[in-house]
Symmetry: C2
Subunit: 141 residues, 2 copies
DNA sequence: TGCTTATCCGATGAGTATAATCGGGTAAGG
DNA sequence: CCTTACCCGATTATACTCATCGGATAAGCA
C-alpha cells in the first residue's frame, strides 16, 4: 500500500469540508462522525493543513474548519505531497534527498523518473471538486 | 517512498542477470558485488523468484542463478507485484483485501482505482530488456 | 570420498514509521 | 464564566523493513 492513512484521511476530510461547507466553519467532530475517523487522530493532523494555508481553523463555539479556496483549486497532488511528504516511488527522487552515488550506472533510475512524473501529473489533474458527488440533476429534464 | 528496497534490489539483480547471462548460471556473489547489495540480504529474497519460476537456481560449483525467459518477457509490473505484494495505492484495492464497508459512499475510491490502473499499466509496459544499456553501436556507421 | 562452491533456510535484532490514545491548554462566543 | 472546539505534547502498541549470523543442503570435481 503506497498511501498512508494520514493522506487518505485528509483527502476525505477535505472532500467532506468541500461538500458541506457554504462558507461557515464546520467542527471536526461532525466530520469525524460522518467519515468514521478517530477525532483525536485527525485533530492531530489538521494543523499541517492550517499552517500551509489550505484551511482556516477557528476556536470556540461556532468554530471549526473552512476551506479558503474553491474546491476546484485544490489539486490532489498538492494535498498528498503535503501529507505524505513526497509521492516519489524511490528515496533518491524525493526532494532534497542525498544524491545516490550509483546514479550514473543505475539501470532503473530512468524508469523511476518516468513513473514519478506520471504519478504527479495524474494527481495534479484531479481536484477536490472531482471527488464530490455529482450535483442533483436539473429537474427540468 | 512507495517501493521498498526489496523490490528495487530485485529489479537491479534481474537486470544484471539479463545483462551478464548468456545461458550459464551466475553466482549471486558476483551480482552482489557489482550492484553493491548485501549478499546475505539478497540471498534471502531470491527464493521468491525461484519459487515463482522466474529464475532457476543451481547449487554448487558452477551454480548460481539464470533467467529462464528472454528479458523482453519479464514485465516490471509482474516482478514488482511479486516482491511488493501489490502495487495498489490503498489497502482496499489489494488483491484479497477485506472489502471496505464504506466503499459505497467513499469519495476517493474511484480516484484510487484509476491510479491503480495507471500504475499497473505503466509497469506492465516496461520490460527487463528496457532496463539494459543500449547495445554497442554498429561499427559500420 | 572428501573439498569447494553456492543456494537455501530459520532465528534474531536494530531501527523506523504509522496509527492511535490520553490529558490537558488555549481561544472564542454567549 | 461556561461551553465549545481547535491545538499541543507525551506516550504507546504495532508492524514492517532491512540486515546479520550460523548453518544445512546440494552439486561438481579431484
Amino acid at each position: 500500500m503506497m498511501i498512508s492513512s494520514r493522506g487518505r484521511y485528509v483527502l476525505r476530510v477535505l472532500a467532506d469540508l468541500a461538500q458541506h461547507s457554504g462558507g461557515e466553519y464546520i467542527p471536526m467532530k461532525d466530520i469525524a462522525e460522518r467519515q468514521e475517523i478517530s477525532l483525536k487522530y485527525i485533530e492531530k493532523i489538521m494543523p499541517v493543513l492550517t499552517k500551509s494555508g489550505m484551511v482556516d481553523g477557528l476556536h470556540g463555539k461556532g468554530g471549526g474548519y473552512r476551506l479558503n479556496r474553491p474546491p476546484e483549486e485544490y489539486k490532489i497532488g498538492e494535498i498528498l505531497r503535503l501529507t505524505e511528504g513526497s509521492l516519489a516511488p524511490v528515496h533518491c527522487l524525493e526532494t532534497g534527498a542525498s544524491p545516490c552515488g550509483r546514479a550514473d550506472r543505475c539501470s532503473t533510475l530512468s524508469m523511476w523518473r518516468r513513473f514519478d512524473k506520471l504519478a504527479n501529473e495524474f494527481f495534479d489533474s484531479v481536484s477536490l471538486a472531482d471527488l464530490l458527488p455529482p450535483p442533483p440533476h436539473d429537474p427540468e429534464t
